[in-house]
Amino acid sequence: MSTLAPPPSETSTLPELEAVRAKFPAGSILPQDGLDQPTWTVSRDVLAAVARELKENTETRFDLMLDLCGVDFPDREERFEAVYHLYSLPRAARLRLKVPLREDDAVIPTLIPVWQGANWFEREIYDMFGVKVEGHPNLRRLLTHEAFQGHPLRKDYDPARRWILTEDKIYKPHFDLPEREDDLFERMTVNIGPSHPAMHGTFRLMAVLDGETIVASDVEIGYLHRCFEKMSETHTWQHVIPYTDRLNYCSSFINNVAYCRTVEKLLDVEVPPKAVWARTILSEFSRIMDHCVCNGTTLVDAGGLTNFWYLFQPREEIYGLLESVCGSRLTVSGCRIGGLIQELPPDFEAHCRRLLEIIPPFVDDSEKLVNGNRIWQDRSIGIAAISAEEAVNWSWTGPCLRASGVAYDVRRAHPYDLYDTVDWEVPVLYGGDVYDRFRIRMMEIRESLKIIRQLLDRGMPEGPYIVDDPHVALPPKEACYNQMEAMIYHFKLIMDGIQVPAGEIYEMVEGANGELGFYTISDGSAKPYRNHCRPPCFPIFSTFPRLIKGGSLSDAIVSLGGLNVIAGELER
């Protein structure tokens, strides 16, 4: 097996980062060589100041807080680590901040004044690790139940532990609302969900209404929480793939690709061209499918059922393709580390071309029904509008951010697979409302079709569908039966699992609704030490109370559909 490439050394000496570092006391920031991006170990005392400086300094301008997660190292003196991933949209640069914390003093300052998007991430780290956040306005459990005891992602928490969660300790909504005596009797609090057809999945919305207008609201999530990250730690690298299917189940293939790419980067294996080609095509088909689901259901929320049928037919056909490749429709598990699940079927190209014929008429019909339709325009233009500046502050990515006017797409900014070899555009709109989010998804469907068409014209590359490395991929069954060596590799790989070299990495792809990243730490064993998923809809949904404030309840329902929040990914 190829060993891990030595980390690039120039990352720690980027001049603009050095300039920021020089402004702080010596020893409070320790730069490290990251495998994938520059990494700073920051002392907690200067964290808030460093964050503000990194954001406001015109040379660095880290305006997007992508992710915050915790890591537990029980053997270290400073047991916990809070890991921030920052991104600079103007410079397309990344930075990782690590804040070591002692167990008896596990407190971090809140970064909400710098990045609004930190809000839920900080609640999550409190919930999962028990790290307290100083200055947080609503520091309560987010993903687990209020009556849950302990912090599940700590290493000493037994994964088999069960709690009986009763109703006496339920989530009390936190309304960002000044209490005014004279207004109170005119207001009404309405609860929607968690099992309500308009709450796509299992969200609970509590809204304070003044007449028809929402004056404040709060959401509760976690009904679909299954602690995917804890389960990853008790399973081998290969076994995590079926779990990733269940993150964004509308486009599970993209999740597979994201996770497999992360592990492949740690392993430093090169995926064969045929697998890369098929991954790109199937990812784009999955994206089309996801956008169809989102747009179809948004219109159902607005009362237009016809579109739903037109947009679900392409999805049905794409499921047929995925099933003929991977053997399953929804939870495809289509990738393996190093390649694909199996050889592409002989009619793969013909099947794809047939889909390219089938899909556009349905999309056209749907657009004809909706675009320019004043009934839909009246329901959607200016509804749940958010400006680009605010969306970036709330850590938005993906089509929702592009509908606000920021052309950030991982496929273009950090090309992976074959995206830099095809000709396509990043659509941008400037309305930032439900109408533009709908339109941008339709435009992206067309761009995806364009990408697929070009790749099909190029033809399927020859060669294997999975890397020929017996330490990573199972040998072919024929070899297994006939060669002793292959049989031994087969047994070793299944009994011991893939041995991934120690290291940490953050790898991202453009998921169907934003940047889907996996932050993975390996300690050199057969199981991930820590596997964190950066769910794109998590920060988007945390903005929801802000988005619907001042609108009517029916507008809130329409705007939820347009955000494309998937509970499986949101709550992991």
């Binding site: 079926p242 019909d365 004043r374 325009q377 200016g382 006017g405 941008v428």
Partner: protein, 246 residues
């Protein structure tokens, strides 16, 4: 590439090939402005034409409709579908599995339970006395099929699984070896075998015939000897568990 946002303002020179976004971002949103025709509801006519076209097409071409009348009609799945598992048999009708536990080890859902026993034939050594799959736990990922070094577990494209009790969902050897699953047209996920491989297909076809021949031979013998035909030689917990499943 034509990104409207691409331009280098006063930002430092970016690394080559990377897009640069304008900063600051638009702080105000610019919503779509409907045209005069749109405000007059005119584009609705186009939409009505689309619905009318679909309506007429569905009315006069009902055989072209996409709906499937399940369960009378069924969707045809490919021969890779990951459905109900099958335990293939040897020509004499006994189970092919050698109880090596690789499938149980490779199962992410931990839903396979095997109890191994000694096989009378020294060349085979082991066989599963009990082989159970908890179908309610199973996620149908196909990892057990990947792991099997004997082609002793494969999948069918049978997706009809419904149970009245949780006990029924734990299927034993008797269910997994049911002869209907050997129908050539119902086989599912068997990775790393090129589907167009004629030799392989013929082998499998022959194997199926052999199984049937062996079965019939056993049945004839049993009838001649005046015994009831029991199916397999293996007696165990699973046959009792399987009896409850119709």
């Amino acid at each position: 590439m034509s990104q409207p946002m691409v331009q280098a303002s006063q930002t430092p020179a970016p690394p080559a090939g990377r897009p640069v976004l304008k900063q600051p971002y638009p702080a105000e949103v610019k919503p779509y402005r409907p045209s005069f025709a749109e405000r007059l509801y005119l584009p609705l006519l186009g939409g009505l034409a689309v619905t009318m076209r679909h309506f007429l097409r569905n009315l006069f071409g009902r055989n072209k409709m996409y709906t499937i009348e399940y369960p009378e009609q069924r969707r045809q799945y490919s021969h890779r579908f990951r459905g109900h598992h099958i335990l293939p048999t040897r020509p004499d009708g006994s189970v092919r599995c050698v109880a090596c536990f690789l499938c149980a080890q490779n199962c992410p859902a931990e839903c396979i339970h095997i109890e191994a026993g000694e096989h009378p034939d020294v060349n085979i050594e082991k066989y599963p006395v009990v082989y159970e799959i908890d179908m309610l736990r199973c996620v149908f990922c196909g990892y057990c099929v990947d792991a099997c070094p004997e082609e002793a577990i494969i999948m069918s494209n049978n997706y009809d699984m419904a149970y009245f009790t949780r006990e029924q969902s734990i299927v034993g050897k008797a269910d997994l070896m049911k002869p209907f699953t050997f129908d050539e047209s119902q086989l599912g996920y068997r990775p790393r075998f090129p589907e167009e491989d004629a030799k392989r297909a013929k082998m499998r076809h022959d194997a199926v015939n052999l199984v049937e021949a062996a079965r019939q031979a056993q049945e004839r013998e049993a009838r001649a000897a005046g015994r009831a035909y029991t199916g397999t030689n293996d007696q165990g917990r699973d046959s009792a568990a399987g009896a409850g499943v119709t």
